[in-house]
């Protein structure tokens, strides 16, 4: 047992925190959020230069060959800054997915571009009901002449589809020998693919995709036929723990902001933070934060080491969901009406908490995994 942070991780954290503090203070983050793109191409280039876009990709593709734990630390800082960017869909999901599933040609063609920040990729995970839809996907691929396929179906809440150079999606090939879903890399400009912007709680750019006999070439299949579910399944735990990292970063900021607020704000003739009810509410926040840090770091470390982590990961996401939400609720309560205004950051975090809770499994889902692991 050693809860100390390694030197390398500390460097990642310090670099990232400094970068986002300077490049993405709350005022800048709001500006970025208000742009058409919903991210800052300039900052994206800087992040590419820092080697972050391919942090865990192999060096042979231009990646930095970092560990999952490095990525955990970086994403935590992004969560703290609420960085609006396609980092999660492109560098956390797509990059590793392609490196895992793609053939050499595809990797050579795509990864260096992605890592240099020249191409953004995204993944369309959720079906028309908003549930993860890759084991037995409702999206259907109908084989047509010339080794091509026509995709039909719906994908919801696909981030940054409007700027993506490619969309990864699992579809079931009709009449195929293999039962499993196949992973396709779809060009967003394909005929028959409609991108509908969605207005959501957070202002992150996200889209509904309507595939209506959208045509894809056979060479846009990533990995083997019928292997899409397996590839997704490999990426999923890592993506889940990295979502936890983002949430942990957000929680840190909520607790910082709220504790600072109650120390400063006076009411009834004394600091708000001198009230015992406020002490106890802050205790709850501090406990949420500390426990979330421990349980998510544990899962990230285990996964990073390639050790079994199914139960620990489920524990982490279930706990993280509830703890972030609780911190955000307490943060609102202690900020009073001021936290509910547009100018204040508090509500951006509380909506981030809710949106993240919904992503990569709600608490019930993960508790159910814990129960499976217990054999109960």
């Amino acid at each position: 047992m050693d809860f100390g942070m390694d030197e390398q991780t500390a460097i990642v954290r310090d670099t990232a925190r400094k970068f986002f503090r300077e490049q993405c203070p709350s005022s800048r983050m709001r500006e970025i959020l208000a742009t058409e793109e919903g991210y800052s191409p300039e900052m994206w280039r800087q992040m590419a230069e820092l080697g972050w876009l391919g942090l865990v990709n192999d060096e042979s593709y231009g990646g930095s060959g970092g560990t999952l734990f490095d990525l955990f630390t970086l994403v935590e800082e992004m969560g703290r800054a609420l960085l609006p960017s396609p980092f999660f869909c492109s560098s956390v999901l797509s990059g590793p997915l392609i490196e895992e599933a793609g053939d050499q040609d595809l990797k050579k063609a795509l990864l260096p571009q992605m890592i240099r920040g020249e191409k953004i990729l995204t993944v369309a995970l959720l079906g028309g009901e908003g549930r993860p839809d890759f084991d037995d996907p409702t999206l259907r691929a109908h084989p047509v002449d010339g080794g091509r396929y026509e995709l039909t179906g719906t994908r919801l809440l696909v981030p940054f589809a409007h700027v993506a150079g490619g969309i990864l999606v699992c579809a079931k090939i009709e009449g195929a020998a293999s039962d499993g879903p196949t992973l396709f890399l779809v060009d967003p400009n394909t005929d028959g693919l409609e991108c509908v912007p969605l207005d959501t709680l957070t202002k992150e750019r996200t889209f509904a995709l309507r595939f209506n006999r959208a045509r894809v070439d056979g060479d846009r299949i990533v990995g083997g036929l019928g292997q899409g579910g397996a590839h997704m399944g490999h990426i999923w735990p890592k993506a889940t723990v990295l979502k936890c990292a983002e949430m942990l970063g957000g929680m840190e900021r909520v607790v910082e902001m709220t504790v600072a607020h109650v120390k400063e704000r006076h009411q009834f003739g004394r600091p708000l933070g001198a009230l015992q009810a406020v002490h106890h509410a802050c205790f709850e926040m501090a406990t949420c934060l500390e426990t979330t840090r421990l349980v998510t770091t544990q899962a990230a470390w285990l996964l990073s080491q390639g050790l079994p982590a199914a139960k620990d990961l489920a524990m982490a996401k279930a706990w993280c969901n509830d703890a972030y939400k609780k911190c955000a609720a307490i943060g609102h309560q202690l900020h009073g009406a001021i936290g509910f205004t547009e100018e204040h950051d508090m509500h951006l975090y509380s909506q981030h908490a809710k949106a993240s809770e919904m992503t990569f499994g709600t608490s019930w889902h993960h508790r159910s995994r814990v129960a499976d692991e217990l054999g109960i």
Binding site: E129, L198, T200, A208, Q267, G336, E342, H347, M358
Partner: protein, 394 residues
């Protein structure tokens, strides 16, 4: 004792329900989860006025109906059930009228009450209580009203003022005893301010739901006539405290989300069992049953408070408990709905994929405010402990 409504009460409910049904059919308003304190529609308020449903509990001499609070609760329950657009008269009906009846001058009563009851043009009110540095602490207001001949001169800033941009009048709390040694609970007064008075500026605040529900209101040497003073000078804090007991326990504290909860239950009924794992369904059922229990209890608390007022008693601790209970229930509804609906809960109105008509995302955006408006949960708990249970303050 009687836990059911009388025949007359049931008949009244049926009458309200029938009126609303025909209005909805006529397309007068949508039943989507809304915001009761937004400007609203004067035409709709007038329809209620015609039926005697504004100022229902007020004395007949001022145009009221002198009917019991329980009957008003029935009316409000039906209105909230369909999220009727009552914003034009809501604050005046809930707050301004009762305060004037208790503390207002004869002139004020005659000048305002009948117009409110009729939903006349020009009687929309907003509340000018909160300040940037005095949220829950109303005794800490710093806006001032200084007597100058037959007028008061008002200076200062107010915030979190709902619908100020559409209001004709503001109900103002301002310091009138500027002596720094004055008792902080005995140095402010209540006024009715014409919002068109020169020196008043209204600026919208955009909230997290992206709406300018709230406003900042600035006073710069705004001159208002002395007859604007409500009740006694320097008694404003006490008057507000006495009055709040009567306003706190309205069914709006329970029913801001009402259509959402109804839709959630319907969603569970409609879900194809073969499409949802039985274990998840069992869990969702259990959670929604708990919410139903809390809703039912919140409703009992509301009616009990109304009944207590009808008995001529001040419902101080009861009303505080009722509001604390109900608003906490309301926050749980949208949280649980999101856990049941999953990721699509985030999608706002306007597309086919937004679940429960998009009411869920709206409620999630509004949620944090439920336990803050009209006295934070913490303040309410203190009221119950100190005034209800008689615990020592020090």
């Amino acid at each position: 004792m009687r836990f059911t409504f009388t025949e007359a009460q049931e008949a009244f409910r049926a009458e309200v329900r029938e009126f609303l049904r025909s209005e909805i059919e006529a397309g007068t308003f949508s039943t989507q989860c809304g915001d009761l304190i937004q400007p609203g529609s004067r035409e709709f308020s007038q329809k209620l006025a015609e039926r005697g449903w504004i100022g229902m509990t007020w004395p007949r001499e001022y145009g009221g109906q002198g009917r019991p609070y329980v009957e008003k609760a029935i009316l409000m329950e039906e209105l909230f059930r369909v999220q009727a657009p009552i914003g034009y008269h809501f604050l005046a009906d809930r707050q301004v009228g009762p305060a004037l009846i208790h503390f207002g001058s004869e002139w004020q009563k005659e000048h305002f009450l009948p117009r409110i009851v009729r939903a006349d043009e020009g009687v929309a009110f907003c509340l000018l209580f909160s300040e940037p540095n005095a949220g829950s602490d109303l005794a800490g207001v710093t806006a001032t009203a200084v007597r100058d001949g037959d007028d008061y001169i008002v200076n200062g800033q107010k915030v979190w003022t709902s619908a100020a941009h559409a209001a004709d009048y503001g109900w103002l709390l301002a310091k009138t005893d500027l002596d720094s040694s004055a008792n902080r609970y005995e140095s402010a007064s209540e006024f009715i301010v014409d919002m068109k008075t020169p020196g008043i500026t209204v600026r919208p605040i955009v909230n997290m739901a992206g709406q300018s529900h709230f406003n900042e209101v600035f006073f710069e040497n705004a001159r208002i006539p002395a007859k604007s003073l409500v009740g006694e000078e320097n008694a404003g804090f006490k008057q507000i405290m006495a009055q709040m007991d009567y306003e706190r326990a309205g069914l709006e504290r329970l029913m801001q989300n009402y259509p959402l909860f109804e839709q959630l239950k319907q969603h569970l009924r409609d879900t194809d069992p073969s499409e949802t794992p039985e274990a998840f369904r069992a869990w969702a059922r259990d959670q929604v049953a708990q919410l139903e229990i809390e809703y039912g209890i919140g409703r009992l608390l509301c009616y009990h408070t109304a009944w207590t007022i009808d008995q001529g008693k001040a419902p101080t601790a009861q009303a505080a408990m009722c509001k604390a209970f109900c608003t906490q229930y309301e926050q749980r509804v949208n949280d649980m709905a999101s856990q049941i609906l999953g990721p699509v809960c985030q999608i706002r109105r306007g597309v086919a994929w937004s679940p429960l008509r998009g009411d869920l995302a709206e409620s999630l955006l509004w949620g944090p405010s439920y336990t803050l408006q009209g006295g934070s949960v913490e303040v309410l708990k203190n009221i119950v402990a100190l005034r209800g249970l008689g615990l020592p303050r020090k």
